[in-house]
């Protein structure tokens, strides 16, 4: 064997040793973490701090009314905690759709000495390293609204799979479990949309006599939905039932009306314009069903849980869990059920509540009360 070969072989051997030793060391650490309990590991060294706390919120898009309302909502609850002397500063940064910008902004938030970092993520995995940086600095990190792949932080996510399942169930049951149904899905390719599609398809599988005519995408947008449904109506002379996402129901109704076709059995949406249509047509026998996914629902719950954890309060078992679908193996994911169901019986009351509280904002607001948040803790 020539010297040349040795020059190549020795570094490779050395490198192999390094990798093996590092690997065994790493898995040893992991084992210790698991013994401690994954939830505790995610919280280790970050709790029992003296208030008031500084909070950072890293948001993505802001050019959507859902997001502007969300920011408004979280500021409402923040003022409440501020009044109690629990928090001091709230730093909010918006990064649009850009992942790199969000990473930079999170780094800035970390450097500004916050105690609690809330993130509405732009990417499912790209933020994991910067979350690790926050962990190393002893900052409590909670992900809101859209789940990510990190197992090293808490995540509070609305259970949208269940949401779409319940919406589909309403339509299928309204048809007596039998008929031709069209499905207007949301923004194709978005993870949140995939979860909802799965919820719909799994529910559909339980109704053998429901025939799925087809599926199109309304992009959660009233105009797109209206135009797509106009095309769908031309293609299908008979539609007994229609399942939509939120932001698509009223547009679909307008398409049916413009085409002079009778409305199918369909779900509604928890949005003010739809409620106004609903109340206007309720007396003529219009029936609907909607589930509220308020903009502030997850974010305000994140803030509430974060502030309580920082105070050293103990979470009860069973809320933060592992999740097979999300491939989360630590007890860090809280899939929050959406609990406000709106039917003909309570639509008037909820509309009034919304108008008194919010006025003309589009999305119906509801989130955990302070008592409900307290109930999550020992």
């Amino acid at each position: 064997m020539s010297k040349k070969w040795l020059v190549v072989l020795i570094p490779i051997l050395l490198l192999t040793f390094v990798v093996i030793f590092n690997g065994s060391g790493g898995s040893g650490d992991k084992g210790a973490e698991m013994e401690m309990g994954a939830l505790q590991a995610a919280l280790e060294g970050k709790l029992d701090k003296e208030p008031p706390y500084d909070v950072g919120y890293s948001n993505g898009l802001i050019t959507h009314s859902w997001r502007t309302q969300m920011i408004d909502d979280i500021q409402k609850d923040f003022q409440l905690y501020k009044g109690q002397g629990l928090v001091d500063k709230l730093l909010i940064q918006h990064s649009g759709n850009e992942v790199e910008l969000q990473v930079t902004q999170i780094r800035n938030l970390i450097n500004s000495g916050i105690d609690l970092l809330l993130i509405n993520p732009n990417s499912q995995s790209a933020l994991n390293p910067v979350i690790e940086e926050a962990n190393e600095r002893g900052i409590l990190v909670i992900i809101c609204d859209q789940r990510i792949t990190s197992e090293d932080c808490l995540q509070v996510i609305p259970d949208i799979y269940q949401w779409q399942s319940d919406v589909a169930k309403y339509v299928f049951d309204g048809l007596g479990g039998k008929g031709d149904v069209f499905y207007l899905s949301g923004y194709d390719g978005s993870p949140a949309n995939t979860d909802r599609d799965n919820g719909f398809m799994d529910t559909l599988a339980q109704y053998p006599d429901i025939n799925l005519l087809g599926k199109a995408n309304g992009n959660w947008d009233p105009t797109t939905s209206q135009q797509v449904m106009a095309d769908v109506l031309a293609a299908f002379p008979k539609i007994d039932g229609l399942v939509t996402h939120d932001g698509e129901a009223l547009g679909s109704i307008r398409a049916f009306e413009a085409a002079g076709r009778p409305l199918p059995v369909m779900n509604g949406e928890a949005m003010r314009p739809f409620f106004e249509y609903w109340l206007e047509h309720k007396d003529q026998g219009f029936e609907s069903f909607a589930i509220t996914n308020s903009p502030g629902f997850a974010s305000n719950l994140c803030l509430g849980i974060g502030v309580r954890l920082l105070q050293g309060k103990q979470l009860k078992d069973g809320y933060f869990k592992t999740d097979d679908v999300a491939n989360i193996t630590t007890d860090t994911l809280f899939l929050v059920p959406l609990t406000e169901y709106i039917t003909n019986d309570n639509v008037e009351e909820i509309y009034q509540r919304h108008m008194n509280y919010r006025g003309i904002a589009d999305y119906i607001d509801i989130w955990y009360t302070q008592e409900q948040m307290d109930a999550l803790f020992e």
């Binding site: 959507h64 009314s65 199109a216 095309d231 031309a234 293609a235």
Partner: protein, 325 residues
């Protein structure tokens, strides 16, 4: 005969309309009932909004100097937000809203016109940046809250139809289609019979020559961007009638299609040539394509692949035709 055939094939406007008819025939094969009168009207109704926005785009492109208006989406949103805030569900507010929308669109359009004409900023950059700023203005002033709504008359215009009877057959023609036909006629007249058209084609074809013949080219070009802004804002106002409620997220899907409609219509980005009829065909073509694909179970990915490939083939064949001629 041969000469006539050659003329038809080389006339981009006629080719564009043949493509539209072809697309409808394909649509009928894929989705039976696609060429039913009612559905054709539905497609034309949906095409109107892109068609009106593309009218502004057409004027800007013809005006030359690599003219392009990417702020049409922002203008559209300004039109929606402004009209909703003024109309507030009442028909008596409509005239005021229309004046305000036209004025706002025109003045905001003049801003990008000023940048292009007097500050010599490339239209692509100027209108892209201004479009983003307009979106910010819409968000800032509304704070994301959708204030106001359409009035009954505006809803009728945006979504309603006129019942027309031919003997025993009664059909509905959407109001926007009727409005569109009037606009097409008016634009044709303006562009072929008036000084407006002469000036527009003049500054587009040869800026220097136009200048020498006494046209204030910078000022005229600035005005063209104002017209484009006003047209997009009006389209936004009628869209409010179509959807009923304002929404600041509308309009952005029209920005690039408005430029593509112009290209399909055979209008060269060199400026100084082309007419609105071609753009009309382009707008109908794009909307019809979307309409067919919406009912196919392709998913968003498949849909975009098909649109991309069709546009690529179309634009490639146009470029080839241009080389040969």
């Amino acid at each position: 005969m041969r000469g006539m055939l050659k003329r038809i094939v080389t006339d981009r406007v006629i080719v564009a309309f043949i493509l539209v008819v072809l697309l409808f025939v394909i649509g009928e094969f894929i989705v039976p009932g696609f060429i039913a009168f009612r559905h054709v009207m539905t497609v034309l109704q949906a095409s109107f909004f892109l068609g009106l926005i593309s009218l502004g785009q057409t004027l800007v492109v013809i005006s030359g100097k690599e003219g392009l208006d990417l702020s049409v989406g922002g203008m559209f949103v300004i039109g929606i937000v402004t009209s909703a805030a003024i109309v507030q569900g009442s028909d008596s507010n409509l005239p005021l809203a229309l004046i305000a929308v036209i004025a706002t669109g025109f003045i905001l359009g003049l801003v990008s016109g000023f940048g292009v004409s007097y500050l010599n900023i490339a239209p692509l950059i100027m209108t892209l940046a201004w479009g983003i700023a307009l979106r910010g203005i819409a968000l800032f002033t509304t704070k994301g809250v959708h204030y106001g709504k359409a009035s009954p008359i505006l809803e009728t215009i945006g979504l309603g139809s006129v019942k027309v009877s031919f003997g025993s057959i009664s059909v509905g023609i959407p109001w926007v289609v009727i409005i569109w036909i009037i606009i097409i006629g008016l634009v044709h007249f303006l562009m072929t019979r008036t000084r407006f058209g002469k000036v527009l084609y003049g500054i587009g074809a040869n800026n220097r020559a136009a200048e020498l013949s006494g046209i204030r080219t910078r000022f005229q070009r600035m005005l063209v961007y104002g017209y484009s802004g006003a047209l997009s804002a009006i389209a936004g106002m009628i869209m409010l009638g179509y959807v009923g409620e304002p929404n600041i997220n509308l309009g952005y899907t029209y920005v690039l299609p408005s430029a593509v409609a112009v290209i399909i219509g055979g209008i060269s980005f060199g400026g100084g040539a082309g007419n609105y009829l071609g753009t009309v065909a382009g707008a109908i073509f794009l909307t019809t394509l979307e309409s067919i694909l919406a009912t196919l179970q392709l998913g968003e990915g498949g849909r975009q692949v098909v649109i991309g490939i069709v546009l690529l083939l179309l634009l490639a064949s146009y470029a080839r035709g241009k080389r040969e001629s």
